[in-house]
Amino acid sequence: MTVVFEKTQGLTDKQFHYCPGCTHGVIHRLVAEVLEELGVIGKTVGVAPVGCSVLAYDYFNCDMHEASHGRAPAVATGIKRVLPEHVVFTYQGDGDLASIGTAEIIHAAHRSEKFTTIFVNNAIYGMTGGQMAPTTLIGQKTTTSQEGRKQELTGMPLRISEMMATIDGAVFVERVSVHDVPHIRKAKKAIKKAFEIQLEGKGFGIVEVLSTCPTNWGITPVDSLKWLEENMIPYYPLGNFRTPEEGK
């Protein structure tokens, strides 16, 4: 029998705990495939967040460090400063990065720490049961915005990539989505680029990945992909916000 597809070496054999239809699994695989393709699994240290992907340390087949809530960029700073030749990444959700961890992500970018952040934005707190996040859309129902998020009470959803693009030290900033195959391919390209920039020592890179949460959005996996496309992308436009000039 001919082998036509193999699981990436970048993931362990541990079964994911993610809910059916959640796109964390896809994003994990993209990161893992990139690490494998770049041949850096053996010299990578990943930093896991607090949130749905807290157990990411069991899934990535490289050395892993589990951080406290929001502090992954500070932990990654400590690791990368000791191991400048290694590859270091953080994998963080929107509660972790866009709420409790804003100071850490902004200043890691501001110092242009030479690691890569994968920022998974699903517009909700997943692990704790579907509370409102800074990224929750206006009108979106969550367990702490049961009649839908209201601007006058809680402001407008926070656009992290746009904010990051104002920081000189964030040399690579791109927002991607994983709601269909063409976008998954684009997402992988951006993730690979971000890691390549780290390997070239150019500075801090972040890839924001729009992701689904069927369980806490209360809709089916298929409808979730559609909801992401129709509701999240208009507010969180996809594209590259910053990339280093070639040859620099």
């Binding site: 340390y57 050395d63 400590g78 990368k80």
Partner: protein, 354 residues
Amino acid sequence: MTRILMKGNEAIGAAAIKAGCRYFFGYPITPQNELPEFMSKEMPKVDGVYVQAESEVAAINMVYGAAGTGARVMTSSSSPGIALKQEGITYIAGAELPCVIVNISRGGPGLGGIQPSQADYFQSTRGGGNGDYRLLVYAPASLQEAVDLVIEAFDAADYYRNPVMVIGDGMIGQMMEPVEFREPATKRELPTKDWATTGTNSSRKPNIINSLALDPEELEKHNIKLDKKYKEMEEKEVRYEMYKMEDAEVVMVAYGTTARIAKNAVDALEKEGIKVGLIRPITLWPFPYKAFKEIPATAKALLSVEMSMGQMIDDVKIANEGRLPVEFYGRAGGMIPTPEAIAAKVKDILGGAK
């Protein structure tokens, strides 16, 4: 070996570098500023790294990351800043990583003041972070002792895979004394750091630095394992000094610079024919409970002297086991007790001047 006249904060930094510390993550706060300033200047000279973090919270998490790689790493702060570091400290203790944390403490609560204080006794010995964990806490009374204990702290941290705190009140940070940099008094067989996140090099299973255990049985096992380590510290790491304990009528208990002032009171009272002894804890945790077994039968009372409203006195009471009356004398908020005031308190306890 030559002795060098140095300011406390700088001497502590130099001792850390001497001990092989090459990574320092700091944040400005008075009265410890000369320590990160010194590190920012000196670390590059030894191919080390100094990072000024965006906050104490970030600094301790940088320590957490760096410690995970097996590096010798340190941070320093002062009381309110140490309060902010508590989250990171409990994670580091939970994940069993070595590091050294220096607290040059000041008056509180809240923003408090910037003058010397010992009001962080509870914070250091009872944790400020969540969960069942302990820190080895050294409390030097002189700069030579501070330097010796900082050098020792890195070995102890590596030996136990546990954070070690060195606490000095603001005077330790700010005063100048001659110091020499010596090898640690205790020779320890240090374990290899085969747990460190240095990359698998595709030749071993991934190492994971973690303090999460969702399975309660697994977490309890971890708690028991940690407790075993803390029991070993209680057995092996207790340090204290006894001063003029023979025939003492009152036994004072004081640590850090307060103990030096208390010694002056002991000497002054001795000249007046009043016999007073002193127990000086050098480790605040584990507390030298066993020293209290050596209190002579002549003792009529214990006197805890602190630059606080009374925190260590709780441990003095535990150590005393209800045998003698336990009295207290303290100054707070950055006020420093005088030998005269301490002596007056002793006379008061003994029922007026002899």
